[in-house]
């Protein structure tokens, strides 16, 4: 069937499906305008109900690339001064400014959106085991202890821009097209579990990680309690949150490479493990599944997770949500629907569908210290 | 020759309830229903089972349908014969004259003297017309069960 006809059919049939996710990465870390991701996600407008959309871009703050950048939103009761006081005690605030936004009539309940570029004060940084844990602890403190305030992005040279609205409205609101980044992910939300709240939109970020998710995590209850055990507290009332924190826990803290990460989050079935012929791999799969039992993500999901050096796309163990990938030159695209990819790359060299539980892992050429670099599959 | 099924007895599981006898007599009676048969004394036949009990050991034994059956050799009328299609040792009540040669030679002692009007020999026919003998089917503890000739247990499933 010709591509054009395909597009016509799609328009006519209203398929109420869950959220839409999209992601683009340039393997040589060449930065490109956010416009591309916006038009890609907007292609899947019907996958959302206008109660949430958002973008995450990497490499968008070249001038502050070594600074920690916090995006914070305050609602009416937000204690902005107290938070800033708290930050001043811990950081040298190199730069702070409201996030540049534009007036968009259709948006409402717009919170105060501010961003801070920080260096950790040396009295803290001297005896720190890892900067990341300090930032993590700071973000958790703000989100839990300061009413009306919530840090929704906390990485270096990256940022998350999200809110309640359609993807085009949010893109226009945050002037996404002005930013240039080598990796972009986007989300168009159809929330069922929580009411449209600016903080509840995707992507969810902690430190360098950003994650967009279509689906539902039926193992949320145990994942959340497992994460609390390790110091991550869920405050955004959406199940996606646990995915981001799990990636940080497994990859950064426990130093699992991404393939091992998939053995934990989308563990292969016991039958599959039994059939595995490579003895070491078999033992590892079984061991990881036993040790990280409570980290397993159950329920249908399609996720795209990124950090400064990798883009990952993954489905649940039964692939109950669509996810398709394509590549052209040094670009790799991942999305819920092929239409979103074809919108921005009409003739990709290769299009494929990842198997259930088997992740697509795209590493940027630059060597980043996140986990052991594995050859791109 | 066709090899017969056999009843295997596990004396360690016989609980001494003697239901096997009751169901055997009922099955071979004309009434075919326990209460009617026992109530109206229409006990047309004795059971093919000899029940034995001593202390906490008991078991019910019936004709073994031996390969080399001594009763077949001792029978002077041909009343005791081996059934071609099932390989069982069967007894033809009409031909039997009651000479008791079979009672004399049966090493298991399970050939009885029938209490019915015609005093002839009487023994278990392994419920020729049923898949499972009545005694096996109604033993509450599977103390008796049926095996095929190779000794493989035959069960309902």
């Amino acid at each position: 069937m010709e591509y054009e006809q395909l597009k016509l059919i799609e328009k006519s049939v209203k398929i109420p499906s869950g959220c839409g996710v999209a992601g683009i990465v340039n393997k040589n870390a060449n930065r490109f305008s956010g416009e591309m991701i916006v038009s890609s996600i907007c292609m899947m407008k019907d996958r959302g109900n206008g109660l949430g959309a958002g973008y995450a871009g990497y490499g968008i703050y070249p001038e502050f690339s070594d600074k920690w950048c916090l995006h914070v939103m305050y609602d009416k009761t937000g204690e902005k001064e107290k938070v800033e006081e708290f930050l001043e005690a811990r950081f040298n605030i190199v730069e702070q400014e409201p996030i540049p936004v534009r007036k968009v009539k259709s948006l409402s309940f717009i919170p105060v959106l501010h961003r801070y570029f920080l260096d950790i004060k040396n009295k803290f940084s001297d005896n720190l085991t890892s900067e990341e844990d300090f930032i993590l602890e700071t973000v958790m403190k703000i989100n839990r202890n300061f009413d009306g305030a919530c840090v929704f992005s906390s990485g270096k040279n990256m940022g998350i821009f999200k809110g309640v609205g359609h993807p085009d409205e949010i893109a226009e609101f945050y002037n996404i097209h002005n930013y240039k980044g080598y990796t972009w992910i986007a989300h168009n939300r159809f929330p069922t579990n929580t009411v449209g709240w600016w903080g509840g939109a995707h992507p969810f970020g902690i430190l360098d990680w950003a994650c967009v998710h279509n689906g539902e995590i039926s193992s949320y209850g145990i994942n959340r309690r497992y994460l609390e055990n390790a110091g991550y507290y869920c405050t955004f009332y959406t199940d996606t949150e646990v995915i981001t924190y799990l990636f940080d826990l497994l990859c950064r803290r426990h130093k699992l490479n991404f393939e091992m990460c998939s053995y934990v989050l989308a563990s292969p079935f016991w039958e599959e493990i039994e059939r595995e012929t490579d003895v070491k791999k078999k033992k590892l799969m079984k061991f990881l599944r036993i040790i990280y039992a409570s980290a397993m993500l159950n329920g249908p999901f399609a996720i795209i997770v990124a950090n400064s050096s990798v883009l990952i796309g993954m489905n649940d163990r039964l692939k109950l949500r669509p996810l398709v990938a394509a590549s052209k030159d040094d670009f790799v695209f991942v999305a819920s629907e092929e239409s979103a990819i074809r919108k921005i790359c009409p003739h990709p060299e290769r299009v494929w569908m990842p198997e259930a539980g088997k992740p697509i892992i795209v590493h940027l050429q630059e060597n980043k210290n996140y986990g052991e670099i594995k050859k791109y599959k | 020759m066709v090899k017969p099924k056999r009843i295997i007895i596990k004396e360690e599981y016989c609980i001494g309830c003697r239901l096997c006898e009751i169901y055997c007599v009922t099955k071979h009676s004309c009434a075919k229903e326990i209460i009617k048969m026992y109530k109206e004394k229409k006990i047309a036949s004795e059971s093919g089972i000899c029940f034995e009990e001593k202390g906490s050991i008991s078991f019910a034994i019936q004709c073994r349908h031996c390969d080399d059956a001594p009763c077949l050799e001792a029978c002077i009328t041909g009343a005791m014969f081996r059934d071609k299609d099932t390989g069982r040792v069967l007894h033809n009540k009409e031909k039997c004259v009651g000479c008791w040669m079979c009672v004399m030679v049966c090493p298991v002692g399970v050939v009885k003297i029938s209490q019915s009007e015609k005093r002839v020999a009487s023994k278990c026919d392994l419920c020729i017309d049923r898949e499972f003998p009545a005694c096996v089917e109604n033993c509450p503890n599977e103390a008796i069960y049926v095996v095929d000739y190779e000794g493989k247990k035959i069960t309902k499933e």
């Binding site: - | 004396e11 000899c50 008791w100 002692g109």
Partner: protein
């Protein structure tokens, strides 16, 4: 005439031999010769026939199909005269038959003692071993409306004949040489039971006596005079003193005989392709460990089968049997095994129990059962046959042997398990 297998005698020994041969070779030609004129009948049933309990056409113990299925060539009214062992030929009254394998199962013939005044053609004197004799006797009794009869011999045949005649309400005078009826199988107490039962039926028994001479008028018996001097008017005398193996045609053929034809454990005579079985053969007696003549149906059946198997090239061993008897006389069932009456008591042990209607006796020899009698209550007596056959040491459960509910549960566990769990067992 030529045949691969030749069988002399068409009773249980001959028939079992056919079954034995056919279990190995169902092609080889089998010829059976019989001096009688009926296709198949069971000899012990002649007393039931005499008593009118069964008719002529239910005398057979194998049907006509049996002979057809096994493709048997049965030649009746043939009397064997002699055997030419060098040329493997049987000489008979109707011609000669060459054979490769021969079975002699000619059975036994009645013993007729020479009594003064006896002659073959006197009317009213019968022996009682074959169906033809039984038919003649029954016809004679009905036609002559006999009301009293004398039976010489208180053994099994005499008693069974007496029981048959009693059905025609004939007054019986039984003359027995020894001191008791059924002397070969029962002891004093048991035969007293039988005697009292027979007397109640109007039967008179003369023990330690015999017939000295026979008187006849116009060639029909009229009176007999006993040794004790007693004289009995009668028109019917049945001679039932015993049976001797029919070995007349075997004389000077080189086949070794004692009272019967001697056979080894494969039922072979001293001539390799000639076998013998049944009442004519002398096989091993398990109890006496010697070879002896046991003229009973089960022995003939087993010997015939084993002979047949070996004749057809199979290999079967006759481990030996022992005398056993089951009979019901005037409603009283009696079963006896092995040695029942023991004269010298030194190494035998006797267990006895009796109440009014039943009598039970076990004879033990160094803790093994060598004989027993069950009178009145005979159920489960076969278990004792098993104990004798397997020569089980009964020391531990000797006290239970006479118990009313004696059963398998009292036997040593290994033997019981073999019977209860294991497959069948042959005696």
């Amino acid at each position: 005439m030529e045949t691969k297998y030749l069988i002399i005698g068409n009773s249980i020994a001959g028939v079992s031999c056919i079954e034995g041969i056919r279990s190995i070779d169902n092609v080889g030609k089998i010829v059976v010769v019989s001096k009688e004129d009926i296709q198949n009948y069971s000899r012990p049933l002649i007393s039931y026939y005499l008593a009118g309990k069964i008719s002529e056409n239910s005398m057979a113990f194998r049907s006509a199909e049996f002979y057809k299925e096994n493709s048997i060539e049965l030649i009746l009214n043939v009397t064997a005269l002699s055997i030419d062992t060098k040329n493997n030929t049987l000489i008979t009254n109707t011609g000669n038959i060459r054979f490769e394998k021969l079975l002699i199962a000619s059975g036994g013939s009645p013993i007729v003692p020479n009594i003064q005044g006896y002659s073959k053609d006197i009317q009213g004197i019968f022996t009682f071993t074959s169906f033809s004799e039984a038919k003649k006797l029954k016809k004679y009794v009905e036609e002559e409306k006999i009301d009293n009869a004398v039976i010489l011999g208180g053994g099994l045949i005499g008693l069974k004949c007496a029981e048959g005649l009693l059905e025609h309400n004939i007054k019986i005078h039984m003359v027995e040489l020894s001191d008791r009826l059924l002397s070969s199988t029962l002891d004093k107490d048991a035969s007293n039971f039988i005697e009292t039962v027979l007397m109640e039926k109007g039967c008179v028994v003369y023990k330690n006596d015999t017939i000295e001479n026979i008187y006849s008028e116009n060639n029909k018996i009229s009176k007999v005079k006993l040794k004790s001097g007693k004289e009995i008017e009668t028109k019917l005398l049945v001679i039932a003193v015993g049976v001797k193996p029919e070995t007349s045609f075997v004389k000077d053929t080189g086949i070794q005989c004692n009272r019967g034809i001697l056979v080894d454990q494969f039922m072979k005579t001293n001539i390799s392709n000639i076998f013998a079985a049944g009442d004519v053969a002398e096989g091993k007696n398990l109890i006496t460990e010697k070879s002896s003549l046991i003229a009973i149906w089960p022995v003939a059946a087993r010997q015939g089968k084993i002979a047949g198997i070996n004749m057809a090239g199979g290999s079967a061993v006759y481990e030996g049997m022992f005398p056993m008897n089951a009979v019901e006389i005037a409603g009283v069932p009696v079963i006896s095994f092995g040695i029942t009456a023991v004269d010298n008591l030194e190494n035998y042990e006797i267990l006895k129990k009796s109440d009014g209607k039943t009598y039970k006796k076990i004879v033990l020899h160094n803790n093994k059962i060598v004989g027993s009698i069950f009178l009145g209550k005979i159920e489960r007596s076969g278990i004792y046959a098993g104990l004798i056959k397997n020569q089980i040491n009964v020391a531990e459960f000797k006290s239970f042997l006479l118990e009313e509910d004696f059963g398998l549960l009292i036997l040593p566990e290994k033997y019981r398990k073999h019977i209860v769990v294991g497959d069948g067992i042959e005696v």
